[in-house]
């Protein structure tokens, strides 16, 4: 049998199993334990990922050939597009990265026994299934004259989201997103309080692991950005009521463009909300498997702070085509390019960490390296789009779709899988099968590249996004892109095989620190899985400790 790196199998099952845990119902439904809530978030993320993935698979099947084959009309296709975006962003990436790994590892990494407000944590989680149900209801209730559901995309611009969808479908989306928003705001308050107030003795902010840093910055972004989305959604809600307000209605003195400003004031920080925790995870993995502390630790932490701060003043790069003044475009162009600087600091620090290290290409390291590579591709297309003149040509084409999928479905999602494999043994106490995990990685890696790389060509050739049909000239690359969806699907199948093998069939136990030397953060000092209540006596962090 192939030995796992740094494997040290425990003689007897971990203390996890005899810890006075509450019974099944109380444990999982009234849960206040940060690790149980983290697990719930991860399961929730996987379920949402399946729903969102199904929707995108149907879109790819539709687009495999010109003409309309599966969908009854344009509206139904657009409903799939909109729901795919909303579910993936708010119900897959955010719960997995922040709720899942954040809950599991932030308290452990800073040496705290639990989150600051365990019961609020429970509320944060249970708001999410409620919100998802609202979104799913919206599918089956009337949207507009063309059918059920809301087809106005995840950006929800009025008037399409007001007079364009008079039916209740969009009201359900507003309610669902408000619930999701409050869940995230409560979560953010919880994370910030935990990190600021509950660090173990000696754990100064400048010693805190980078994943905790990334969640701290993310939580501030959530706290500052989500209330603005909530306000915008609320205004949409009252605008939709007959005889209600006219915030975004030009007939009543409002301005639909103002919604775009509000949305993107939230929307651009939101994209960093989805990527910063992945930055944190990748830093840990690169350092562990290079057996070196992360290069330029403080630079890495403050690069994230800088990204967070500058991320609030670049929003209108999504709105270059609304007819902005040229000076304003120049400002947003320059500010957007500034973000590439701290982002570059992160990329180079990862490379410098690996430089001269003794690198092990484990499964999590493969995901992390793929993350770095694919994120750079997405970052480069982002810098292209940031140029207002170029964007006038590329805006709302498939080039933008390719850009944000390279940073999201390859950036953020690869970060999620990297973290999942890195901490799999730590969270569940058992090791995955390497061959199933490798099949998952390679099929997924090849699949998403085959899907999204050709979309750069489609966009450069002028194929607009958000249409159910396209002219013959775009047929070839669309067909290729749809083959990629099949490959990705096969990858996802191996993910579930891997889960079944590891969690049900084999259950091969792992020790405390199964990655061995290089894995230095506090979670590796605990058993796998950690005891139900950790750190009854707080750990002390020595002055010379590494990050």
């Amino acid at each position: 049998m192939v030995a796992l790196p740094g494997e040290n199998t425990p003689a007897e099952p971990s203390s996890y199993d005899d810890d006075g845990k509450p019974g099944f119902f109380a444990r999982w439904f009234y849960s206040t334990n940060h690790k149980d809530i983290g697990t719930l978030y991860l399961i929730f993320g996987i379920i949402s990922g399946l729903i969102g993935g199904f929707l995108s698979f149907m879109m790819r099947m539709e687009l495999a050939d010109p003409g309309i084959q599966f969908f009854t009309n344009e509206h139904q296709y657009l409903v799939y597009v909109s729901m795919h975006g909303l579910i993936m962003i708010f119900f897959m990436v955010m719960p997995a990265l922040i709720g899942g790994f954040g809950n599991w590892f932030v308290p452990i990494m800073v040496g705290a026994p639990d989150m600051a407000f365990p019961r609020m944590n429970n509320l944060s989680f249970w708001l999410l299934p409620t919100a998802l149900i609202c979104l799913l209801i919206s599918f089956v209730v009337p949207g507009n004259a063309n059918g059920n559901g809301f087809g106005g995309s995840w950006v929800m611009y009025p008037p399409l989201s007001t007079t364009g969808h008079p039916g209740p479908a969009f009201d359900f989306i507003i309610i669902g997103l408000l619930a999701e928003g409050f869940s995230s705001i409560f979560g953010a308050i919880n994370f910030i309080t935990t990190i600021l107030n509950m660090r173990a003795p000696g754990m100064t902010l400048h010693k805190m692991p980078l994943f905790a840093w990334s969640v701290l910055v993310t939580a501030f972004l959530l706290l500052l950005a989500l209330p603005v989305l909530a306000a915008a959604l609320f205004m949409l809600f009252t605008d939709r009521i007959a005889g209600g307000t006219g915030f975004f209605d030009p007939a009543r003195g409002g301005d639909p463009q103002m919604f775009q400003h509000l949305f993107w004031f939230f929307g651009h920080p939101e994209v960093y909300i989805m990527i910063l925790p992945a930055f944190g995870i990748v830093s840990h993995i690169v350092s562990t498997f290079s057996k070196k502390p992360i290069f330029g630790y403080l630079g890495m932490a403050y690069a994230m702070v800088a990204i967070g701060v500058v991320g609030f003043v670049v929003w209108a790069h999504h709105m270059y085509t609304v007819g902005m003044d040229v000076d304003l475009k120049a400002y947003f162009l320059a500010a957007t390019l500034v973000i590439a600087v701290p982002t570059g600091v992160k990329i180079f620090s990862w490379l410098a960490t690996m430089w001269g290290g003794s690198i092990r290409f484990t499964i999590p390291m493969q995901w992390a390296l793929a993350f770095i590579f694919l994120f750079v591709v997405g970052g480069v297309t982002g810098v292209m789009l940031a140029n207002a003149g170029v964007d006038a040509y590329l805006h709302d084409t498939y080039y933008v779709v390719a850009h944000f999928h390279y940073v999201l479905s390859m950036g953020a999602v690869f970060g999620i899988f990297a973290g999942f494999y890195y901490w799999f043994g730590k969270m569940f106490g058992v090791m995955y099968n390497k061959w199933l995990a490798a099949a998952h990685f390679w099929l997924f890696f090849i699949g998403v590249n085959v899907i999204f790389f050709p979309q750069h060509f489609l966009g450069l050739n002028g194929m607009p996004r958000r249409y159910v049909d396209y002219p013959e000239e775009f047929a070839i690359w669309n067909a290729v892109s749809s083959y990629g969806a099949w490959i990705t699907l096969a990858g996802v199948a191996f993910f579930f095989l891997m889960l079944i093998e590891a969690l049900i069939l084999n259950r091969k136990r792992v020790g405390d620190n199964y990655w061995g030397e290089g894995a230095t953060t506090l979670e590796w000092t605990l058993s796998s899985p950690p005891p139900y209540h950790q750190f009854n006596t707080l750990p002390r962090i020595e002055d010379n400790a590494e990050h």
Binding site: F117, T193, V228, A230, A232, G253, D255, H261
Partner: protein, 186 residues
């Protein structure tokens, strides 16, 4: 070490402040656009008291009607040459092709956006609600001038023409929002 409760109260305050800012953005945005002429909102004045200078600009006229309004709306002249500071009078014709009386309001906009702060109206049908009986045809006037100060701004040197655009929306009588009937800002 600050207590968790205190931290939570401060953070909740931050969240609520951002929520308030989100709502406050509506009046802020309106005021900002009206005062600066930003985003193509033309300015309004009581009278034209400026001097006329020799630079000529072509004003083009554009018209639109909201989808759910059965009106025909056309400018009587496509374009008009005016000197900076000179008052221009233009007419639009609007006709109700539906079978009910409808109240409409016109929203306006000037392109290019950077010229908007210098495009000033002294009288306009868009200051009031317009009621048209079925089949009725109306002539609607607008009086405007372009502020000669435009000549002093180097960024506007290349401006040879500006477009004044209107869109008619249906409304209910007496509900016209105050900012659209705004009085003088300069």
């Amino acid at each position: 070490m600050p207590s968790n409760k205190k931290t939570m109260i401060i953070l909740s305050g931050v969240g609520i402040a951002m929520l308030g800012l989100g709502f406050a953005s509506d009046p802020l945005y309106d005021t900002f656009c009206r005062v600066t002429g930003y985003g193509g909102t033309p300015k309004i004045a009581d009278a034209n008291l400026t001097e006329i200078i020799d630079r000529v600009v072509t004003v083009e006229f554009d018209s639109n009607v909201a989808q759910d309004l059965p009106w025909k709306f056309r400018p009587d002249q496509r374009r008009m040459d005016v000197k900076l500071g000179q008052s221009g009078l233009a007419y639009y014709t609007v006709e109700n092709t539906g079978d009910e009386a409808v109240v409409g309001v016109a929203n306006f906009n000037v392109m290019p956006i950077k010229a908007a702060p210098f495009f000033i109206k002294t009288d306009c049908f868009c200051f009031e609600e317009t009621v048209i009986q079925p089949g009725e045809k109306l002539n609607l006037p607008v009086i405007f001038f372009i502020d000669p100060q435009m000549d002093e701004d180097a960024r506007l040197e290349e401006i040879k023409s500006v477009t004044l655009s209107y869109t008619f929306f249906p409304t209910e009588a007496g509900t016209m929002p105050p900012q659209m009937t705004a009085t003088a800002t300069n």
